[in-house]
């Protein structure tokens, strides 16, 4: 009997110790994931920062140094500073080529209901269009279309693929 009590006491101590250690262990990774990504060992995870894709794997060029797409975080249509700089380049290119008309395609990842994602894609396309207009591009040169989650660029079901799918893509229509 005494032995068992002893055993339990040890056991409890071990568990308590584990918890204390665990508490130390869990917090730091959270800070690293949102902080500097350079130290992170996994290269794929580092391509998504604050939910936004920062790599260049799927990006195509409208012209030299004019990327065709910007990325969004989950369930958001806010333009990051990187997205704004991309769109500024597109605006510059559009100004230099006044005959070009474009369509902005809004997309969502596979999580979220189909109908909601259609609306979300429309929001993203229009966020990009609005930014282009703020840079002096006439609205009659820009149409928008939402594909919701119907046309993912990546087929995987993982954070990086989703981040690459949450995008608006500028496509030449002439």
């Amino acid at each position: 009997m005494q032995l068992t009590i002893q055993y339990y006491r040890n056991f409890i101590t071990i568990i308590a110790a584990t918890f204390i250690l665990a508490a130390c262990a869990t917090t730091p990774p959270e800070t690293t994931s949102s902080g500097s990504s350079a130290s992170s060992s996994s290269s794929t995870a580092s391509l998504v920062q604050d939910g936004v894709y920062v790599g260049d794997e799927t990006i195509e060029m409208l012209a030299v140094d004019v990327p065709d797409r910007v990325f969004f975080s989950y369930d958001s249509y806010a333009l990051t500073s990187a997205a704004q700089s991309t769109l500024s380049k597109q605006a510059k290119w559009l100004k230099a080529n006044p005959s070009v008309t474009i369509s902005v395609e809004g997309h969502a990842d596979e999580r979220g209901t189909r109908e909601y994602n259609l609306a979300l894609g429309d929001r993203r396309a229009n966020a990009a269009k609005d930014y282009l207009m703020s840079q002096g591009i006439s609205s009659n040169r820009v149409t928008t279309i939402s594909y919701g989650k119907e046309r993912p660029v990546k087929s995987g079901s993982n954070d990086t693929a989703w981040a690459q799918n949450r995008r608006s893509v500028t496509v030449r229509t002439n």
Partner: protein
């Protein structure tokens, strides 16, 4: 004096005791939840029939059995076990024989060819009460025997469960194939038991979210025809398609009003989605919501007086209810998580929905004031519930998680009872999504 009082009390006590002992009451609040055992016999026919009815006789009984079993409320007894096998049982079953194999109900029938038409007579028997409780004669063209069987199954279901059947119904859905990043999608329609399958569109255009008109052979859906996502109407019988209205942006998430006269849908304009309703005949359009948020997935109550929809106006997607003029918009979902695709039950008392909580997807139901939330099924991804005509079963679609290369992804239709039991995969030739379940065929 005291003696008298005691006598009185004694009398009182006696009265109570005798009363109590006169009739014992026993409350039975639980039962055997096993499906009801039912014997569905092959329908009889005269040997000298002009046309050979052998196969139809077997098939009718098979379709009825399968319908009943699929409901989860019945267990069809193996015909091998049947003791009475003579034609006479259609008139006079030996109930003791059927009780012996544990059948609580018995279905008998007779087929006859009458002037090139098939005459189907069926009877439903309560083997314990030893009486016939339902009988019906149906006459149809011979190749329509499948529908007759569903109608008989509906009659049996209704008589034994107390609620309307849902077997003489169809499922409209989106058939999918091809890689995930280049899916070919076609509208398809089939009987509730996956038979009589056919495609309604070619797959050239992307099509989404089809819905049945509750009163006509007509459907509405979203098509990307000419890269302009718009709501379309399609007459199933004539095959005539037309775009619904002339809107300055994407129209999507269409549904019919209960009388089939109106289409309610979302219009996305400059990044903002609101709910509109259009009268199909007069083409008069009314705007029902006006918020900077995403308002979509509208659904009418069965009396047409109210509309439920989902909106992220409060910061996250939640379910709201308003009247049919867009007034009194109130949020009804209260739990944690995101709520979407609310669909009003044909009985009127419940709203089915999709819920996303901690990365998992649930199909659930709640009362129309948002209370009594019950989650029926949880999975990696599933959404878009649609009610059976009697409000007992929900059909929805479920997707499986892909690996990093996109392999392992699939999409299929499932059904589940309101009780959260009887979850079943619905067979389709290819992958499937966006189901819509018809009312009983008129």
């Amino acid at each position: 004096m005291i003696k008298k009082t005691i006598q009185k009390l004694l009398f009182f006590y006696l009265v109570i005791i005798t009363n109590a002992s006169a009739l014992i009451e026993i409350d039975i609040t639980e039962g055997n939840r096993e499906p009801l055992p039912i014997a569905v016999t092959n329908f009889f026919y005269a040997e000298d029939a002009i046309k050979d009815l052998d196969q139809i006789s077997i098939d009718v009984s098979k379709v009825i059995s399968a319908d009943l079993e699929r409901s989860g409320l019945f267990k069809s007894i193996d015909q091998e076990a049947f003791i009475q096998k003579t034609a006479s049982m259609h008139i006079r079953p030996r109930h003791e024989d059927w009780r012996l194999i544990n059948a609580q109900a018995l279905v008998t029938g007779e087929l006859e060819i009458d002037k090139d038409k098939l005459r189907v007579e069926f009877r439903l028997w309560d083997t314990f009460a030893e009486k016939e409780i339902e009988a019906l004669v149906l006459i149809t063209t011979i190749d329509n025997w499948r529908r007759i069987s569903h109608m008989i199954a509906d009659k049996i279901y209704e008589r034994l469960t107390g609620e309307e059947g849902y077997f003489d119904t169809r499922i409209l859905y989106v058939s999918e194939n091809g890689p995930k990043n280049n899916r070919i999608k076609r509208l398809a329609i089939m009987d509730q038991d996956s038979f009589n399958h056919r495609y309604l569109t070619s797959g050239k255009e992307l099509v989404l979210t089809p819905r049945f008109n509750p009163v006509k052979q007509e459907i509405t859906y979203l098509s990307y025809f000419k890269n302009l996502p718009r709501v379309y109407l399609l007459d199933i019988q004539t095959g005539i398609q037309e775009v619904v209205g002339d809107f300055p942006g994407m129209t999507f998430a269409p549904r019919f009003s209960p009388d089939g006269e109106k289409i309610i849908m979302s219009l996305a304009r400059d990044g903002n989605s609101d709910i509109y309703v259009m009268d199909i005949k007069s083409r008069v359009v009314e705007r029902l919501t006006d918020s900077p948020a995403i308002d979509t997935s509208p659904s009418y109550s069965p009396d047409g007086k109210k509309i439920t929809f989902n909106s992220d106006r409060g910061g996250s997607q939640q379910i709201y209810v308003m009247d049919n003029k867009g007034r009194n918009q109130t949020r009804i979902s209260r739990g944690t998580g995101n709520y979407a695709t609310p669909v009003w039950s044909p009985r009127g008392d419940l709203i089915a929905f999709t819920k996303n909580f901690q990365g998992r997807y649930f199909i659930g139901v709640m009362r129309t004031d948002g209370t009594g939330e019950r989650l029926l099924t949880e999975n990696w991804y599933q959404e878009a519930p649609s009610w059976s005509s009697n409000g007992r079963v929900l059909i929805f679609y479920r997707e499986t998680k892909a690996d990093d290369t996109g392999k392992g992804h699939s999409s299929s239709l499932w059904s589940i009872d309101l009780t959260g039991f009887n979850e079943r995969k619905i067979e389709t030739p290819e992958d499937a999504s966006d189901p819509s379940w018809s009312r009983l065929i008129q």
